[in-house]
Symmetry: C2
Subunit: 329 residues, 2 copies
């Protein structure tokens, strides 16, 4: 199998690649695992700190560059489309967000269509497609009225994935990902980046800034579960999707205050005291526009799971990122 | 007020222009009616059979031509964006549908944004944004899983209108229109065109083809009510829209069989016998993918109304199109 991961230099792309390489196989349609021939990591910046592997190809290019995208897509059997300008970035630069998140996605889908090989595509969408007036818990059938350009662009991506799939140009699946916590590495331009920083930084003795109130609730999923979900979405056969190729994922709902309390309990009060509370109304507004709870009934019936508790998320982070004696991505 | 109507040569654009010219004014924000300075009808084909009027400007151009669109948009205060490749057309030519319905809409919104005057925009969307598994009656909050490229493109248009409005680039409102019956003029490439043909043609002594079964239910609204809705959507103040700028409109649900029965009762059995029943599975499939009933609670609370009965729709058609002794658009 030849695999393409867009946004392959990001933490999720690298983590997914590492998971694939560790088994050396990928499973589709719940069938026999197939050996991985090649994993192409396509990104605008080169991936650093990758363990060298003859199966991995690094491709640096812009997702709005037709030639680069066609080259990346030409031989792909399986595609994880993770590349995106994140929420606060897309809000700050309207044109950049549409160029990367909408035009880039269309270019990729067109390049995949042109192969005439109907590749399978998993698209990373998110709960930012929801917004405005929402019920206590959003259902799988709740409408998308995004209150950010990022959410709008992800909703457009889902529609494109569904239409290209319906036409038989590809076999696409969109996952609405909860906020990923605890994200390793550096803070990024996602409005939600604080949700990882306030845990990650104190654990390594550094300060972190929290721009939202303690009572702010967020809907989260760990990197482990997200990676599993990305693999599961690729594995599920075409037949389970039917007329609806967009799947909101299960997550857990926690307040920032609870997260900090768990941090203090597990890692000590000193860790929690490394958080500086600096309210940022713009970030508070974006974060509050997202849903805090989802039923995710269909995803649960398809075997997707959440982490159970924030303590489980924190302990998984400690094992994955701190356990070996230092931080690694 | 300077008004731009895209798709201005279509029956809806011409009807809207005629309604505006007949009063010579347009009302926004429930305020005092403002005199109409100019109505620009922008379309890829020139409008025929228009009553000459010094306030009307005909602009022939392609909505994917940046210069043409910028010229059309430059001075507009109020815009009705009706231009589109219709359902069967967009399904038959995937690329054309995206070019006109998505790229064209984006070009228009960009041109309006560039004016820095925050024009008010009413976008004609439709119930084709719905599809797949649906409840008996779709709610205002039901998700969009379109089963046609046309529906996908309209859903993308709604998202763009909402995001451009949220950013303050324009003041947009999207109306999800039921199938318009009885449409005057010639059949077009809409999958729903039969719903008008089977009434319109027999009434003038011509044959019409019905490609769907008698028990096929459709959700419809008359040209009179649609025109009223387009004017009302422009009139409503910015403040009523909030975080959700997309409004599914009220309509009535009828089966094709009921429509034909009413035709026979009002215009005689001979009229109904001019319908030839020629099943077309492709058309049947598209039509059946649309919802047949909607709650339209919010629209009703804002004063939008349906026709009450198919007989009322038929009688309005007779008055508007046949009454004067002949067919006119």
């Amino acid at each position: 199998m030849r695999i393409l991961i867009t946004g392959g230099s990001g933490f999720l792309g690298r983590r997914l690649a590492a998971a694939l390489l560790s088994t050396g196989t990928v499973t589709v349609d719940e069938g026999t695992p197939s050996p991985i021939e090649r994993i192409t990591l396509f990104d605008s910046v080169p991936a650093d700190d990758l363990v060298p592997d003859s199966r991995v190809e690094l491709l640096t290019g812009d997702i709005t560059d037709r030639n680069a995208v066609e080259h990346a897509a030409a031989e792909a059997d399986l595609v994880w489309h993770l590349a995106a300008v994140v929420s606060a970035g897309a809000e700050a630069d309207f044109d950049l967000g549409y160029r990367i998140n909408v035009d880039g996605t269309r270019l990729l889908l067109e390049a995949l269509r042109a192969t005439n090989r109907r590749p399978r595509v998993v698209f990373a969408s998110g709960f930012a497609v929801f917004g405005g007036e929402m019920p206590e818990s959003v259902t799988d059938e709740f409408h998308t009225t995004p209150q950010s350009s990022y959410g709008t662009q992800k909703a457009i991506g889902e529609l494109l994935i569904a239409d290209y799939s319906r036409k038989g140009f590809l076999d696409g699946r969109s996952l609405r990902l909860p906020t990923i916590v605890v994200r390793p590495g550096k803070p990024n331009r996602a409005a939600s980046t604080f949700a990882s920083s306030i845990i990650r930084e104190p654990l390594i003795g550094a300060e972190a800034i929290c721009p939202v109130r303690r009572d702010t609730a967020i809907y989260i999923l760990s990197p482990r579960r997200v990676t599993e979900a990305l693999l599961r979405a690729m594995r599920l056969p075409d037949s389970v999707w039917g007329a609806n190729r967009t799947l909101p994922l299960p997550g857990i709902t926690v307040t920032v205050g609870t997260m900090v309390d768990v941090l203090a309990r597990v890692a000590g009060e000193a860790a929690a005291e490394r958080i500086r509370w600096q309210p940022d109304p713009a970030i508070q507004r974006i974060v509050e526009s997202w849903p805090v709870r989802a039923e995710a009934r269909r995803a649960r019936s398809l075997g997707f799971t959440d982490d159970g508790s924030f303590e489980a998320i924190l302990r998984a982070h400690l094992e994955d990122e701190i356990g070996a004696g230092g931080q690694h991505a």
